[in-house]
Symmetry: C2
Subunit: 295 residues, 2 copies
């Protein structure tokens, strides 16, 4: 590895601005206000965890640069659209996202609705393009569609809606997060890998185990941060889960046990990567980052 | 042709209920409420104009039945999701759709938002599946994504939002509708055709000309019906455009000239189909239906 992990992350995050810029319609194009709002939502923000995962998995299998970029951009567009819709008054009614006013606050609700809808379509358009063999592109499109839909992210959000004020068990909480955030994190890993090669069943299983562990770890740490950090640090409203009476890992397990669970999941992730040897270093470091992050 | 046009339409419309039923997650599957609401939105309603177009174009090129069904289901799911979102309070705030309470009235706003989001993802998942060669599936996915996004349907809705109370010219009105409804109607024709074969440039151009004509005709007739029919006949709130001070063909051209334009577009559509001979009979009849419908 020629650069260290922090430098690599910074590079990918910076590259992603240009990648997203290139794969979004220009702000001058009609309808200009919609395109401007799509860019407001997608550009200049976020930790880009999903693109980092797609890049790390793509580099593990020597995927062509353009294919990795499309995978990363598509997954990030789905993630961004879900944030825009999630922040709307009929969902979480949030004013602040990534340290900026949310889209419906900066523009209006109807525009926020369309921004999300158009970003989802754009994600599939980006993934349908490029030079990769068609069979691989179809596999990536199918995986992303499933991760985004009612058996993935949208389904997780629906379960989340129904869980307000309800005493979820630990396994129900895990099922919700496996769909709500886990499915798209897993898609980021899988799409990056598919950009490089058709996966063998053992490779698929190992990457799925890795993705499952970091997906859950991500949510456990999110709950820990929501309970312990402040809004300024997070760039979004902290303490909301408790305020909304939503079940979290912290509320179910307590803080100490949640921290221990996150650490165990980090080790599970490392273990799942053993078959890939040194090439999986970035994926290992990302598991560490996800568990040890402060925002 | 073994059955007449009316019988053929009835058959396709009835088949589409089963096709959509098969391509939607079962209502018993978790999250059950979301799946039930997706079915409430998609099943048992509508004229199924887009599926009819996909079937007619698919049959023209002897497309395999499963591929036509997937094309028709995917386009209809995109259409249905757009209706669900369009009816929400932050957009048109409508209570009635296809003669039933709108999704956000029957369920709630958050569920309506997720129903639309999940239906869009489901459309791409359905289209990514099946047995068609991968290159053709990618072409169909790319076409649908473009038709659905900010340079298609969502873009048309954004222009529509911006046009309330604005004096649009006839060409601006046409540009809006070309995106808002034209793009998806065109996708219905193209996806049906692509289910049968890779299109030659001349075939593509002829079908695009047909689709453009019926797309515009559809909107002109919609405006005529909005101005002349009642809510009970339409199954949705009539007279809304005038009430919302939205520009329409009737408000710009008057009723008589709008009727003449619809008839001219019907003839344009017929003319575009000449190269396809007798095989295009269903597409010709659909152009007639779109112009001569009463709801």
């Amino acid at each position: 590895m020629s650069i260290d992990f922090a430098g690599w992350c910074k590079q990918v995050q910076s590259d992603m601005e240009q990648v997203l810029d290139r794969h979004l319609p220009p702000p001058s194009q009609v309808p200009a206000r919609l395109h401007e709002a799509m860019r407001y939502a997608a550009l200049d923000g976020g930790k880009r965890v999903r693109p980092l995962l797609a890049f790390a998995a793509g580099e593990l299998f020597d995927a062509p640069r353009d294919a990795i970029e499309r995978a990363a951009a598509a997954v990030e567009m789905i993630h961004v659209y879900s944030l825009v819709h999630d922040d709307m008054p009929c969902m979480d009614d949030d004013d602040l996202r990534r340290g900026k006013p949310t889209v419906h606050r900066c523009y209006d609700e109807a525009t926020a609705l369309l921004v999300g809808d158009a970003l989802q379509a754009q994600a599939f358009e980006v993934l349908a393009g490029g030079e990769l063999e068609a069979a691989r592109r179809v596999a990536m499109l199918a995986q992303l569609a499933r991760a985004a839909g009612s058996l993935g992210m949208c389904g997780g959000q629906a379960i989340d809606l129904d869980s307000v004020g309800v005493a979820l068990s630990l396994s129900e909480l895990e099922q919700m997060h496996r769909l709500k955030t886990g499915a798209l994190l897993q898609a980021a890993v899988m799409l990056g890998a598919l950009a490089g090669k058709t996966l063998q069943p053992t490779e698929h299983a190992a990457l799925a185990a890795y993705a499952k562990a970091i997906g859950l770890a991500f949510q456990v740490v999110d709950d820990i941060l929501d309970a312990t950090a402040d809004s300024a640090t997070l760039g979004k409203t902290a303490g909301k889960d408790a305020a909304n009476n939503k079940p979290t890992y912290v509320s179910l397990l307590g803080l100490a046990e949640s921290l221990a669970l996150a650490e165990k999941l980090r080790q599970d992730a490392h273990e799942a990567l053993l078959p890939f040897g040194r090439g999986a270093e970035r994926l290992r470091e990302l598991a560490d980052l996800i568990v040890q992050r402060k925002t």
